[in-house]
Subunit: 97 residues, 2 copies
Amino acid sequence: MHNEHIAAIAALLKTMSHPIRLKILCLLLDREMTVGDIRGEVKTTNANVSQHLSILRNQGIISFRKEANFIYNRINDPRILQLIQTLRKLFCTNSAN
Amino acid sequence: MHNEHIAAIAALLKTMSHPIRLKILCLLLDREMTVGDIRGEVKTTNANVSQHLSILRNQGIISFRKEANFIYNRINDPRILQLIQTLRKLFCTNSAN
DNA sequence: CCAGTATTTAATTGTTTAATTAATTTAAAT
DNA sequence: ATTTAAATTAATTAAACAATTAAATACTGG
């Protein structure tokens, strides 16, 4: 692996490595969610969710669409979906494969 | 995914999210390496490598064996191997799968 | 025992990150 | 136009992280 790849992947992992951000990504696996929706699932403030979302956006992981004064967030990069699938398979099951 | 899983995975990703530590893990994919070996590959000091190794050990990612006054480090957890394989496949190739 | 090498530990210092709070923007509804 | 709700932004403060340097430990060989 080249050093640029390593730097890029390290940055990605860093973005994903906060419990709230990882949880947001897990929530967004299935569906779109607004900031308010997300705040209902994680135990923190609205502003805090918004800040974490902005970090995820800057990394290019999620994008959003605006409707009325709601903002619907979704996972942008299909590779992130696959990555989370792998994490779940490796660390959340007892299966042999 | 349960919150304990999320916390555990977030902690793992955090440990892996430093460029030097990620590079160390990539180097250890194939072979065992001493601190000195690793310092030859990453541009930093001996003490710094040792500190990063200790973080990786505390996370349970790598283990080591002692021989003379060398310490040979290796990846402990086969799931880490698979995870890095996945990262490489997703973010270091142009292939469609 | 002493010298030399490998590694770890400790202490310091600067940087980054994260949560909280308050203020601001944007859009909708009355 | 004013109010209300959703989301963002900004400012503050505390905590965590990381690199450097120096000191300490562990082990080997003469």
